[in-house]
Structure formats: structure tokens, C-alpha cells
Symmetry: C2
Subunit: 239 residues, 2 copies
DNA sequence: GGAGGGCGGATTGTGCACAATATGGCACAT
DNA sequence: ATGTGCCATATTGTGCACAATCCGCCCTCC
């Protein structure tokens, strides 16, 4: 009796988790990239992924293709997949795009956010604040990104939300490349002030704060960009 | 020896255009959707596509998956692919997202556009104008969309450009669904005025004009949305 | 006559085997 | 000793065959 999902003679515990396993693999790789266990340039051989997740190559290929479309991995023909390596030029474009997207999202979130939404965001800010004071860098980095995603959710537009999700993901890649130690710029206050302006209905003020916040973010990356040593060695962290 | 460019009976002219043929199939389906030769709900059986393009199912599947990621087709498990059918709610979201995106793009295009860019756009506007006066509805629809894509290109941000490309594509799907006859709202002047404001360096003015232009566009669709029932019948008939 | 169940055709999902291609090491010539 | 070309190996790309699933149809039963 194998626990392998493919070999299940039992029709009661039906197998409709086939799309689920695909999502699981995607999330695993995605989270590994976010947590910097998989750094830009890391190779992702199909065969290894197959035996690691116990699926066939067709499944792995679909997942890799989705990741490639989301610009998380790069598919090099006949040479395999690697975790994407954003170039400096792409970095500039990503931050520029993010400025435009976040402005639109702040405007919508100010219009559509309910008091519960803002209360939720404040609760989120407290977590973020605590993580920062605990010097819990991984949690803090995740929460700091989550703030922007939460804001996008409050805007009530799944399309723009998906766009920002992709952009934030790529920003995390950039941080992994150009800022591997992750110095915690104390952006908590900036987040808090943005929420405050939004709750007051001052969309333009919130947009201005967000703009400045993102400028600071980009500058932090740019400063480190000079000493970007491609650490293309010692990867393969998933076991 | 077929005159059909898609069939490649000649083995001598070796096949190293494998990434190219994939892009060609994508573009063919994409353009067909844009030209409304493929209307929402149309089925896309893998086998037929295989023999039409003379490729194997693996290739067709990759193309269909890319189209699905771009929200041009919908992949229903075990039931095949169909051209995507935007819902009214999605329509609202798409136009809302488009407002935000185009505002950002107009701002960037105003900043980054060269005199040559604007001259090019004016040339484009003349074509558009002529097509409209020729009552050449297919050309006009294509050119009207192309104006917005051209503007996105002038903004010099490939990421936002790609986002707008996806949005405009989905808008074309919506027009195909809710506005099948395609009444030519004479938006030429609106386009022209936007270019004029951008060339004058007045980003905010151009953004306001673009906003109003898009409002008109959406209202044209909304007005027709009430009597969209015949399309629903078609949807059921094809599905 | 209507409803439910079973059946056949068609289409997609998956695994496997083989071909094509790139990479790295090795031998050889200079 | 160094540069060059070739070959072995690993990895990806592709086609094929079979299994699973779904839809529409028809037959049977109530």
C-alpha cells in the first residue's frame, strides 16, 4: 500500500488532488525563492525535481513553465531551468512599474477599503513591527512584502493585485541578488503613515507617501548594486 | 506540396526554428482572437491544432498554456480549451485596471517620448482616421487598440507594456462578446488630443483626457451589456 | 411518456522511450 | 605547457501509445 497519490486503489479517498500537487510544487519552489533558500542562478534539473516530488516530467515542466511566465525562473532551451537573475536594467524597470501600480492600488484601496480592512492592516503592521524589533529578518522581509500585497487585496481588483504580486516577487529576487544580508530599513513607520492617510480618505497624500517609500526602497537596492557578486556556486538547497 | 505556409513537408529545410514555430502558433491564435475570427467560447481541440500547424501535441499544449496564462483562452481540465469568456465582473475589473495602467503609462510616455515618437503616433493617428472614414471596421478596431499599445511602447517600460498588452487583449475579447457589431465611436479625436497634451509635456492633462476616453469606451460596452443574451445563447451552443 | 442508467465516441492526461543538444573532460598537436 | 578538437555524459525536447475522463446518445424501466 503505497502512500503515493497515483497508486490509490481506494476510490473513496478520490483523487482530485492532481491540480493540487502541481500547485504544491509551484508553492514549494516559489517559497524557497522567497526565503532565499534558492538564490538567483540556482539550477532546477527536471529529473531531480521529478524524484523529489514523486511526479513525472510532464508535471514538472508545466510548473517550470508557469514559474517562467511569472519571471521567477528562466527557461534556457536545451540547457535547463534556473532561478531568474534580474539585470540592473530590469531592476530599474521593475521599480518604475511598481511605482505606477502601487499608485493605482493606493487610490483604489482608499476608495474601497472598509474600516475592517484598515484595522486588519494595522494589526498586520503590529506583527511587522514586532518582527523588526525581534531582529527576525526572514519574518520581517516576508511581512514587509505582505503589507503591499495586503494593500493590493484591499483595492478589490484581482487583476492589478496579480500584477503587483508578480512585481513584488521579482523585487524579492532583486533583494536576494543585490542585498543578500537584508538590512532592515525601518520602513514600518512609512507603512503606518500610508495606512493612516488612506484611512483618512486622502488618496493623493497616501500616494505621495507610497512614492517616497518606494524611492527609499529602490535606493537601498541601488546602493548595494555595485558589489553584486554573482554567487553562482553552492546552491542545491532542497532536500 | 501545400501552399499553406503552416505545413512543412520539406525535411531538407531543417527544423531549428522550433521556438519560432511556437511563437507563430501563438500569434496566429492571438491575432485570430483580436480579429474576432475566433470568438469567445470557440473550442480549440488539440488534435485539430496539431494537424493544422503540423506539430505535435506537446507544442500545442505549451502554446495553449501560455494563452491560458495570458487569459486569452480557458483551460478546462479534461474538457479542452476554449477562447476565454470574460464575465461582466471581470469586465469591470479589467477597465478599472486599465485606468490605472494607462495613467501610469501616459505619465511615463510624456516623460520619455521623443519628438520622433510623437510624430510616429501622429502618423498612426492618420491611418486610424482613414480606416474610420473608409468604414473599414476591422482595420479600425485593430488600429484603435494599436494606438494604446504604441503609447505603451513610448513609455519605455517593457513590464507595464506587457501588462497593458494583456489588458488590451482582454478588452478585445470583451468587445467581441458584448459589442459584436463594433460601432465606431469616433474616438480618433480623443486619441489626437491625448497625443497633443503629451507632446506639450502636460502629463496630468493627458491623463485626464485618457481617463475620460476610457470612461467613454467602457460606457459603450456597458450600454450593450444588457442585451448580451444572444451571445450567451451562442456560448451555450458552442460549449 | 419521462427519467435514470449504461454505453460509445471523442478528447485530454500521462508515462515512456528515443533523439537532439549542450557541457565538461581528455587526448593530442604545436 | 597551452590551445584545440573530439568524445562521453547528462539533460532537455519530442513523438507515440495507452489510460482516464467527459459528453451525448440510446436503451430500458417505471
Amino acid at each position: 500500500m503505497s502512500t503515493d497519490a497515483k497508486l490509490r486503489p481506494d476510490p473513496a479517498a478520490a483523487e482530485h488532488d492532481e491540480p493540487d500537487v502541481e500547485r504544491r510544487i509551484y508553492r514549494t519552489i516559489f517559497d524557497s525563492v522567497m526565503n532565499q533558500r534558492l538564490t538567483p542562478g540556482a539550477r532546477l534539473p527536471e529529473t531531480q525535481l521529478c524524484e523529489l516530488f514523486g511526479v513525472s516530467r510532464a508535471v514538472v515542466r508545466r510548473v517550470l513553465q508557469r514559474l517562467a511566465h511569472d519571471h521567477i525562473v528562466e527557461l534556457r532551451p536545451n540547457r535547463g531551468a534556473i532561478v531568474a537573475i534580474p539585470t540592473p536594467e530590469e531592476t530599474r524597470q521593475i521599480f518604475e512599474a511598481r511605482q505606477g501600480l502601487e499608485a493605482a492600488l493606493v487610490r483604489l484601496a482608499t476608495r474601497n477599503g472598509t474600516p475592517e480592512d484598515f484595522a486588519d492592516m494595522r494589526r498586520h503592521l503590529r506583527e511587522e513591527h514586532e518582527a523588526m524589533h525581534r531582529f527576525d529578518q526572514p519574518s520581517w522581509a516576508r511581512l514587509a512584502s505582505a503589507f503591499h500585497l495586503r494593500l493590493a487585496a484591499v483595492a478589490r481588483n484581482p487583476i492589478l493585485e496579480a500584477f503587483l504580486n508578480e512585481i513584488v516577487t521579482r523585487c524579492s529576487l532583486i533583494v536576494a541578488l543585490y542585498q543578500p544580508w537584508g538590512n532592515a530599513s525601518c520602513e514600518h513607520d512609512e507603512h503606518a503613515r500610508i495606512v493612516e492617510r488612506m484611512e483618512a480618505g486622502d488618496a493623493e497624500g497616501a500616494i505621495r507617501l507610497m512614492h517616497e517609500h518606494l524611492v527609499v526602497l529602490e535606493r537601498n537596492v541601488c546602493l548595494k548594486r555595485a558589489d553584486a557578486e554573482p554567487s553562482l556556486k553552492q546552491r542545491l538547497g532542497l532536500a
